[in-house]
Amino acid sequence: MLPTILKNLFTGYATRLYPVQVREPFDKARGHVVFHDDKCIMCGACALRCPSVAITVEKKQNKLTFYPLRCIVCEVCVHVCPSDAIELIYKWRPSYYEKPEEVHKSTRVDLLRESVEEVKKEETEKSG
């Protein structure tokens, strides 16, 4: 033990002076999950596969609710999403003061529905 004690007395600190010195997270480290509204097609695959029920999808109202505190960052939704709308960010997410709830609306589905309605209107005008 004596060599270890002498070495520790005369060498520097073993810890980092956080928050002045921050260690950058490693590449591909599991930080938190981010949803992209412009790519989501509201298929519901992420909600089906999430093991901790952190995502709920309501297709008719075009609403996706994500509870960040239930997420265990297992990356299953990232791998399963067919349109690559979920991305894994490698920085750790900050802490919250109250229980958060993220509500997302898919802009891609909105645009699709608008164009479908326009096509229907044109057809009723033509036939009527």
Partner: protein, 281 residues
Amino acid sequence: MERLWPVELPPRTKYLRTIWAEMARTHSHLLWLGLLADAFGFESMFLQFWRIRERVLDLIEMTCGHRVIPSVNVVGGVRRDISTEQKKVLVDALPVIRKESENLIKVVTNDYTVKSRTVGVGVVTKEQAIALGCVGPVLRASGVREDARLTKYHAYGDLNFEPIVQPAGDCYSRALVRARELLQSIDLQLEALDKLPEGEIAVKTKGNPPANEAVMRTEAPRGELFYYAKGNGTRNLERMKIRTPTYANLPSLLVMLPGCQLADVPVIVLSIDPCICCMER
């Protein structure tokens, strides 16, 4: 789970899983040795062990994504690979960790205070250990040469592995078994990294799990972990049973605790390496 189909794993997957299993064993035994020191009040040794453990956790985070829970296994293979730069970092960092833990392990084995608190305390004889169904280091410290890694699952058949056995059944021999297993697991990791074959890392499995049963025994850091899975052809499994090693080691406390001093109780309970949350499954 791959035995349900059954599907043959590619060799690189077997080696990668072995490396990650041994990394988990390294950090778990370092944690345990620190907690053993904490049980006597030897706090400086406790924090010295955990300082080394931080480096191992950094290595696990670099390869798997997160510190304690790797979340890297999929049915049919693994999700992540160890690239050549990561392999170089591992091969450089592991011998340094080995040297530092060796210095500290000399303290555990030779220090007078540690010996006087652990030698002769909580004795389990060989016959008692076999009769009570102990697993893992508790069994090996009582003189029984039994290890689930001897069944040569994953890559253990190619690696140079011999279980560590001690004859006396007290807390001191359990500490010795775990300390030497720590050094052995660092050696096994270096050997596996050396022999890592090229190839793919996952195999696709088709369809639902067939109506089949599968049983698997692996060696977790705390002992032998037992998995039983039964499929029935649909998407959901019919039965899944996991028997954790702490649950199997608990009855040995019946033999160890009666007649000891009150101050020995934390040392004895710690020496079976309890993980209460896994036990309650």
